[in-house]
């Protein structure tokens, strides 16, 4: 197990270098960001040249990349154009988005799996059909529609919650945005667990458990659910990274100053240090979430063992 984890961690290094390399080149290929700093006015050549020199933009691309990676290993992610170190931006953005992600994942797990189990055990019944229709609707409506709609209904029309999130973004204000962010994934979790449960409910070990006279509750939670969760856990694991990076729409709607917002600003202003820095961290999050998922397989299914 320990050796397996170490091997996996070592495998992350080439993946990490490869992905940052690609991101770096893609962002820098967007072109020279300095011209946009001057707004509608023509950039003053001498000033622009100084800024380029400071940002290391006057060097060949490979040199810029080496310089950037060198900085990263010293914990320096560069400076955004407004003079703020990117690490400072990260320190303010990641906790907020992490909280949002936790809320979203929480709803995915609780609501998604519950609905999945309920409809999977009653396959073909009216409950099952209505859950399927409901998830279909949720999947087909884009996030920004549900976001603005729920914000309008709950925040403006009925006044149950504040329509926007304050800068500190505490958990209680993130419930509505969290649900909006979770909705689509939640529907997938419901469908995945429904299918999985419906398949396994006919399996031999379930029949045995029932024949042993175990209470139904125990059969479902200890035997059926545990074996059915593997595809669901895989999905949720990869979803952590997707939710953190993909919160751009939700964060914009609810005025959350998180990763999505910073990435959006970074792309809009062609601010390469911000974009590359944030995506680099997201890559790490993604890799770690995948490792966690693989380790959870062993917990869920004792037949899976890593040497």
């Amino acid at each position: 197990m320990g050796r397996y984890v170490i091997r996996r961690l070592l495998q992350m290094i080439p993946v990490f270098i490869g992905s940052t390399f690609l991101i770096f080149f893609m962002v820098y290929a967007l072109g020279d960001p300095v011209a946009a700093l001057f707004g509608d006015k023509a950039p003053d050549p001498a000033t622009a040249a100084r800024i380029r020199k400071d940002l290391y933009l006057d060097r060949p691309l490979w040199e810029q990349y080496l310089h950037y990676m060198g900085q990263i290993f010293q914990g320096d992610f560069g400076t955004a154009f407004n003079g703020q170190p990117v690490t400072e931006l990260m320190a303010s953005a990641f906790p907020v988005t992490l909280r949002l992600t936790i809320v979203a994942i929480f709803f995915e797990i609780v609501i998604g799996i519950t609905l999945g189990v309920v409809s999977g055990l009653r396959r073909g019944k009216s409950v099952d059909t209505s859950v399927l229709v409901l998830t279909l609707v949720v999947i087909s409506v884009p996030t920004f529609v549900t976001g603005y709609l729920l914000q309008y209904l709950f925040g403006v029309q009925w006044g149950w919650v504040r329509p926007t999130v304050s800068p500190d973004a505490p958990f209680n204000e993130l419930i509505l945005p969290g649900i909006v962010l979770a909705l689509v994934s939640l529907a997938y979790v419901t469908r995945l667990s429904r299918t999985s449960i419906a398949e396994n409910v006919k399996a031999d070990y379930v029949r045995t458990a029932v024949a042993k006279g175990l209470p139904r509750r125990r059969v479902v939670t200890r035997h059926l659910l545990r074996n059915s969760l593997i595809p669901v856990v895989t999905f949720i694991g990869t979803d952590i990274g997707a939710l953190m990076g993909g919160a751009i729409v939700t964060e914009r709607i609810f005025n959350i100053h998180g990763v999505g917002y910073q990435l959006y600003q970074g792309i809009l202003r062609n601010n390469s240090p911000t974009v590359v820095g944030f995506v680099t961290i997201l890559v790490i999050v993604f890799l770690l979430a995948n490792l966690l998922v693989d380790l959870l397989y062993a917990v869920l299914d004792p037949r899976i063992r890593y040497a």
Binding site: L30, G31, D32, P33, A35, A36, L37, F38, G39, D40, K41, A42, P43, D44, P45, A46, T47, A49, R50, I51, D54, N82, G83, Q84, E88, L89, S92, P95, V96, L98, R99, I102, Y148, Q151, Y152, G155, V156, G159, R162, P163, T164, S166, P167, D168, A169, P170, E251, R252, I253, F254, N255, I256, H257, Y261, Y264, I267, L268, R269, N270, V299
Partner: protein, 542 residues
């Protein structure tokens, strides 16, 4: 026991997650601002908040609250009135003696002296400080020594700036520039306290100025709290007790907050909400022209657009554009069809003219078709419009302009759109003179002067002359206007030069951009200045 181990795992995971996310969290700041405090929407300033480095509205908003310069533009008329300046004298429109009023100080009690201005201007001009607005000081003698085109500067100060005594300094300009004192209301010319130079990063975290407000706290990317400075010596004291600027990720969200009572003032009503705004706000919606004009500039560096006779094609394209329809349908009247190359925010006295462009800016598809055909048609039979499309409904209006042109010419889809993803990329192609068809150029004036709408854009070799328009007669008239000491005569000269633009059409005036704002019932006396920034110090809170 297996179950127990699992529960422990889960508990640990939750604890770690909570610990990791529990930073922040002190004041959660209720709805609108406190008693007498205006809460207002804000965008993250693009550059550090230094007067000579701020060239966009969001940073300018703050500078307007915490700084006062030699002059200030009257928010209603745009007239440059003396603020800190007692008098600005000259005999030759080239050498100026500036005398300061008594009693001005910074909010840290340091007096504002001639030195405060000279130091600030030298700082702004110094290429080592990489200030975006450095070219504003380029009229002053000695600018090149501090801001060479390449290499290290040889001086620390500009020789054209001389401090005579704490209240007086003189400025020597390189050329005659009669309206130069009128430019001094621009924020780049603000004075700076000593603390700016001695503790620069500290100052940037909490700027100190000499305006009616002081900065109470500033969290980058989140917001700024400004409070009324009780000791402010000026006459335009703040009528409220402070302003809370809140950064919004999206102006739609800010609008939602305004409607639901969490915000007092939004100074950019999003396009999607314009159909509701009358319903939602009634007369608490402001929509007035600002010092911003959008034009389509022709790449005159490309011979196929600049050769003899092409001016009629350019004029024809202008006449094929249905400005009234587009500003109504796409912009819902937050743009005003353009009738000259300036802005109505200048006022008739300042040089705006609703007749100057004449027929060339009127929609007349039949005349447009004839004019273009008689002049030999579009180069290569087609025209491509280019703009960035990341903001400002640019994609929509370009499609509409193309439709309008196609319908007028009636030769099928000859007009196409070349959308560019980001502003930065667009700027790169534009400033590298790579575009081969008309491209969008937006211009926001720095000060309400007709000179600022013409010289930087159309004078031969001027910094923002992206189409490389060059006309000796135009240059001559601008030079004469700058030397003319009588303001009315100078403006008449500028308008003469503008008539050359009407004949040559190096760029098509499309529309003037309006400033828009909406505010809550508890506010009164809300107005926008010519830069479409709310005049915060005059807002009253009930």
């Amino acid at each position: 026991m297996r179950g127990a181990t699992h529960a422990k795992w889960a508990a640990c995971a939750v604890a770690v997650a909570l610990a990791a996310t529990a930073c922040g969290g002190s004041d959660s700041g209720g709805g609108g601002g406190g008693a007498g405090v205006v809460s207002s929407s804000w965008g993250d300033p693009q550059n550090p908040l230094e007067p000579a480095n701020t060239n966009e509205v969001q940073g300018g908003k703050v500078l307007d609250m915490i700084f006062r310069g030699l002059k200030r533009y009257d928010p209603k008329t745009g007239e440059a009135k003396n603020m800190l300046a007692e008098k600005i004298e000259t005999t030759d429109s080239q050498n100026f003696t500036i005398t300061l009023k008594d009693g001005w100080k910074f909010s840290n009690d340091e007096p504002v002296t001639a030195q405060s201005f000279v130091d600030a201007w030298n700082y702004g001009a110094d290429v080592r400080n990489k200030q975006n607005n450095a070219p504003f000081f380029s009229d002053i003698v000695g600018y090149e020594a501090l801001h060479p085109a390449s290499g290290e500067p040889k001086a620390k100060t500009m020789s054209g700036l001389v401090v005579k005594d704490p209240k007086t300094f003189t400025v020597a300009l390189k050329n005659k520039f009669s309206t130069w004192p009128e430019t001094l209301g621009y924020q780049a010319f603000s004075p700076l306290p000593k603390a700016f130079f001695t503790d620069h990063s500290g100052w940037l975290n909490k700027p100190v100025g000499n305006g009616p407000y002081t900065v109470d706290s500033y969290t980058k990317g989140t917001g700024m709290k400004l409070r009324t400075w009780e000791g402010y010596p000026g006459e335009d004291k703040a009528q409220n007790s402070g302003v809370d600027l809140k950064v919004y990720t999206d102006n739609n969200t800010a609008y939602t907050d305004l409607i639901s009572g969490n915000l007092d003032l939004v100074d950019d009503v999003p396009a999607q909400q314009l159909k509701n705004v009358k319903n939602d706000l009634g007369d608490r919606y402001i929509n007035q022209p600002a010092l911003i004009i959008q034009t389509l500039t022709f790449p005159l560096y490309d011979p196929q657009w600049s050769k003899e006779g092409m001016e009629n094609v350019r004029r024809g394209i202008s006449m094929a554009i249905n400005r009234d329809e587009i500003t109504k349908q796409i912009f819902r009247e937050t743009r005003t069809p353009a009738k000259d190359w300036t802005s109505p925010a200048l006022g008739e006295k300042g040089g705006f003219s609703a007749t100057l462009c004449g027929d060339a800016c009127k929609y007349d598809p039949a005349a447009a078709k004839k004019l273009i055909q008689d002049a030999g048609g579009l180069p290569g039979g087609k025209v491509t419009l280019t703009s960035n499309v990341d903001t400002g409904s640019h994609r929509e209006w370009m499609d509409a302009v193309c439709n309008s042109i196609n319908n007028a010419i009636g030769e099928g889809p000859v007009c196409t759109v070349n959308p560019i993803g980001t502003f930065a990329d667009f700027r790169n192609q534009q400033s590298a003179f790579k575009l081969t068809g008309p491209f969008r150029s937006g211009w926001q004036a720095d000060y309400p002067l007709i000179q600022n709408f013409l010289q930087p854009l159309y004078y031969t070799g001027a910094s923002s002359n992206y189409g490389k328009f060059s006309n000796p007669e135009f240059d001559k008239l601008v030079d004469e206007a700058n030397q003319e000491s009588d303001a009315a005569k100078a403006i008449a000269k500028f308008q003469d030069s503008e008539k050359i633009l009407a004949a040559q059409m190096p760029s098509i005036p499309l529309w003037y951009q309006n400033g828009s704002a909406g505010y809550a019932e508890r506010l009164s006396d809300v107005a926008l200045n010519q830069f479409s920034v709310p005049v915060y110090n005059e807002i009253k809170v009930s």
